[in-house]
Each structure stands twice: as C-alpha cells, then as structure tokens.
Assembly symmetry: D3
Homo-oligomer: 124 residues x 6
C-alpha cells in the first residue's frame, strides 16, 4: 500500500503529506479491503481525475466533511487544504461559507477542528 | 428588495443572473422576513465577504446542496456556478468528487438536476 | 382503526382534524402494522403523555419534520399546529427559528409547504 | 456498458433484472464516468464480493436508501430485493425494522415507494 | 462582544446565563467573524424576534440540536431551556417527543447530555 | 425491567447478551420512560416480530447505526450481530457494503468501532 518511490505522484501524497503512510496503515488495520478501496477508488481514481486543481478539491472535501460531521477526516483535510496551497484565511472562508446552508452548529464544530489543528502545529 | 440599478454589485446578481428578481419575489411570497434574511445575511454578508472567488463559492454551494438534498436550490446554483465562470466540465468534476464522501445516490440525484438544467437550456 | 365515537379523545383527533380517518386509511393501505405502530406508539403513547400542551408538541413536530425533509408529514403538522391553537404567525416564527440551526434551504422548503397549505385553504 | 451475453454474471443483472440496460443508459446519459464508477466500483467490486448472499445485500440496500431518502433508488432496490429472493413479507419486515432507529416519517415514505412498486406490477 | 451592562437585554443573556461571556469568548477564539454572525444574526436577530416565548424557543432549539447530533450545543440549550423557565420534566417530554420522528438512538444520546448536565449541577 | 428468568425469551437477550441488564439499567438512569419505550416498542414489539431471522436484523441494525453515526449503539449491535450468529467476516461485509451508498467516512468510523470491539475482546 505504501509507495516505495519518494516522489509524490498522487494527490493523496500532497493531501496527507508526511502522514500518508500512517493514515493508510491505520486504514489497513481497520480493514485491508476498505483501505484499498479508499486508495484505489477515492484517491487514485476520483482525486486524480485532474479536472479541478487540488486546492479546490480540498476545499470541497472540507465542506463535505463539515456537513457529514466526521471530525477526524475533517481535520485531516483542513490540513490537506493548506498542504495543497490554501491559506488559513481561505480555509476559514470555506467554513464560514457553509453557515447559511447548513447552520451554525456544524460550522462551530468545524472551527473547533481547525483550532485543534492550528494549536497542535504551534507546539514545538 | 429588487435593486433599481442595472449594474450587478452583489454576488447574488451574478449567481442568479436574470432570475434574480424572480427568485427574491418567490422568497418574499413565502415569507418577507425569510427573504430579507437570505438576502442580507446569506448573500450580502457571507457571499460578499470577498475571501474566495465567486466560482469557488458556487462550487462549494453545489456541494452543500448536493449533500442536503435540496434539488431546486441545487439547480439554481449549478446554473450559478456556470454564470460565475465554471465550465460544465468543472461542475461535473465537482459533483463526481462528492461520491466517495457521501455515496452515489446523492450524486446521481445531483446529475439529474444538472441534466434538467442543461436540457432546459437547449430548448429554443 | 377509526374510532366510532365522534368525540376527540386523543391528540391525533385534534392534530389531524377532519383528515383523521383518511390519514389512517392511507397508512393502513401502506401497511397495517405500520399504521398500528404509528397510532398506538407515536400518538396514543407519546403524543398523549400530557406533559406538554398540544400546541407546543405540534411546533416541535414541525421543527422535526422540517429537519427531516418530510414534506407531506410537515404539511400535515403545519395544519395540525394551527388546529392545536397556534397562529399562522407562530408557525412562521417556528420555521424561521430553525434557520440558524439547520440553514436556509430546509427552511425555504418548509415555507413552500406552508404556502401550499395556506393557498389550498383559500380556495372555495 | 451493456453486456452482449444474455447470462447474468454480475449481481447487477439480478438486482436490475430486465431494467438493467435502461438503468445504465440513464446513468450514462447523466454522466458516463458516473455510470462507469457505479458499475465498476459499486456493483462489480462491492456487490460482487460474495461474502453475503444477494438477498441480504438487497435488504441492506433498502435500509440504506430508506435512510438516505432516495426514493427512485429505493424503489429500484425494493424490486431488486424481490428479484433476489426476498418475499414481499420480508421486504415489509425490513422497512418496519427501521422505525425504532430512524423514526416513522422515513418508513412511511419507504412504504409509499413499495406501494407504488406493487401497484405498478398489478397493472396488466 | 461582551456587554458591559449587567442587565440582560437579549435572549442570549437568559439562555447562556453566567456562561454568556465564556461562550462568546470561546466562539471568538475559534473565529471572530463566526462569533459575530452567531451573536448578531442567530441571537440578536432571530432569537430576539419576540414572536415566540423564550421557553418555547429553547425547547425548539433542543429538538433541533438533538436532531443535528451536536452534543455540546445541545447541553448548552438543555441548560438554556431550564434557565428560560422550562421544568426538567418539560425538557424530558421534549426529548421523548422526538423519538417517533427521528428514532431512539438520537434521543438516547440527548438524554446522555441531559444526565451529564444534571449530574454536573449536583456537584458542590 | 430485568427479567428474573435466566432463559432468553426475547431478541434483546441474545443481542445484548451478558450486558442486557447493564444496558437497561443505564437507559433507566437516563429516563425510565425512555427505557420502557425501547424495551417494549423497539425490542419486544419490533425486534420480536419474527419475520426476519435475528442475524439479518442485527446486520440491518449495524447498517442503520453506521448511517446515523451513533457510535456506542453501533458497537453494541456489532457485538449483537456476532452474538446472533454473524461471523466477523459477515460483519465486515456489511460495513463495506454501505460505502457506495453513504460514502467512506461513515464506513471508516464504523470499522473504528469494530476494531475497538475486537481489540477489547482480545484482552484477558
């Protein structure tokens, strides 16, 4: 499941960054077939289509995960959005934009994940 | 509620295009306060923040409405995305991108709205 | 399933009003056990607890159905709220109140059901 | 996309029955890539795993679509459940079983789809 | 964002009680614009409309948050309902009332939040 | 609420196994009426209908709870499925089957609950 080559060739390498192998190891520990489906279909098929730039895809992913209420995946993709070229300000805009569509409670929860991510980064 | 000035000054003029006044007339017929809140908060406050380009906002809006299962609003914003500079191909990418996150049934329904929009446009 | 006695004894008689028997006949045509569970558990057990006044219960029901996106049941309980003593203004307040929690699209859809109900009533 | 061979080899042939080609033609008219993903991933990868019998899979599909509120797909899989060996009584049990978990409104809507399916079948 | 004046003038002062400033400080630490939107739109515009009494609004809020699955906000508004004049019994009625509409799991989770709130209060 | 007789007579005895009394004691500590409704309606009425075998019911329950995002109840019914005769492999198939319908994030969360259950079992 991990790639022997150091060069990122897939969107997932950029999105997950240095956590790439850890994320797929955890998925594989949950269920190997689940992990393969996520890698092969979600990432190497859908993410790698190339019709949208990766930054836009990651902002869409943050919106989808905010709506679903999946806090761990949201945190991963808030980080992934910034690894794909989004500024913190653009990520904040994306979360705020959802409020009139899905209401404040889901947006507050999403900003909680963002704060947790940013606070964690500031630690030495 | 309608603006006497022809020049679009708000995101909502671009997003709704020639249907702007019709849309707010319908909202007002549902409830005048509801219509005002949507115009003043959702559009003139959140949409007009300016931190994301309007095309990205509309792709986010399509994703949010696909997830919510709001077919009429989705159709309006599929149109709005294209009025804001997204190509049909980019709109299709946006809908396909949601599949691994929220599953196929909601994506199929969204493409049904897109087909209805595109078929309607082709009529003389 | 219908009650031979004309006197309303259950909350469901007030909520459904003159549509009581028609509603349970339709439910029974869908599935007799489903109809019995709705009558015996949802109405004659939960609705009839008596710890909240029926008007408050019906405003809660409208909120729940707005959130669920069940348009037919919502219309029935918008009517039920008014049959239980809520004014049209109070029903409008209830729908507007949901907007910051669940976003505008679901509230717009709910006002569409209210408009349909009120328009239908005005017909001779 | 359609298979030249008359013999069903995939779960989708049993689930969709005589509507197989029509369903994939419609999906393809919505978006060819969407149609391919549904055929190749949802059906020929996940449905064809073989770890559960097809009847159980279809009852699970009905439950998932009842919960999602996707009426067209639900109707297709209510039919698919019966084409996969479930009796009408077992389909009814499956829908009733969901009530304590997701509430009555979604179950009532699902029985509406079942009634529509069964009524349609009885027509000459 | 905090009000220098001790006298509650807004619904949010009653709903949040002594936690008012702490709640808005936390929201502001998440995102200052988010905090302002919640204060200005959700509370000082929608909550302060005055068309429903605050106790009814808070019971509606509990229902909305039970349905959304937002545990922290639910706990805040379970407390808010009681600060707005609802008895514990009325709050319990409100949560039980949701069961036939949205199913038991969400209601069980809501009672878990209520128990946590009530247990916390009993501590010296 | 607990049964004096050791012999399981209800589906709930098999589904909950040795945790039966603990589960209902906790429900009763949340709210006695809630506990009674779950026992009398959800279990002794719906679960005990007898139209589907208990293993199938539990796989349906896992699907419903995966979709609802109720982690504690999901874990209880993942265990319940295995106590009702499902193999671990069948439980995994059930969770994987949901992915094309509801997307990967909910399925990943469900496998997290399964891993937690299986890891807990392996401890001495």
């Amino acid at each position: 499941m991990s790639d022997s080559d150091d060069t990122p060739r897939h969107a997932r390498h950029t999105v997950f960054g240095r956590q790439h192998d850890r994320i797929f190891e955890r998925l594989s520990s949950l269920d190997p077939d689940l992990s393969d489906y996520i890698r092969d279909f979600a990432y190497d098929t859908v993410y790698d289509r190339g019709g949208l730039d990766l930054k836009t895809q990651e902002l869409l992913a943050c919106t989808l995960l905010l709506t679903l209420g999946s806090p761990d995946e949201l945190k991963t993709h808030l980080r992934g959005a910034m690894l794909s070229g989004a500024t913190e300000a653009e990520v904040r805009e994306t979360l705020l934009f959802a409020a009139p569509f899905v209401g404040f409670p889901k947006v507050v929860a999403a900003f909680g994940q963002l704060k947790s991510l940013l606070d964690g980064k500031q630690q030495p």
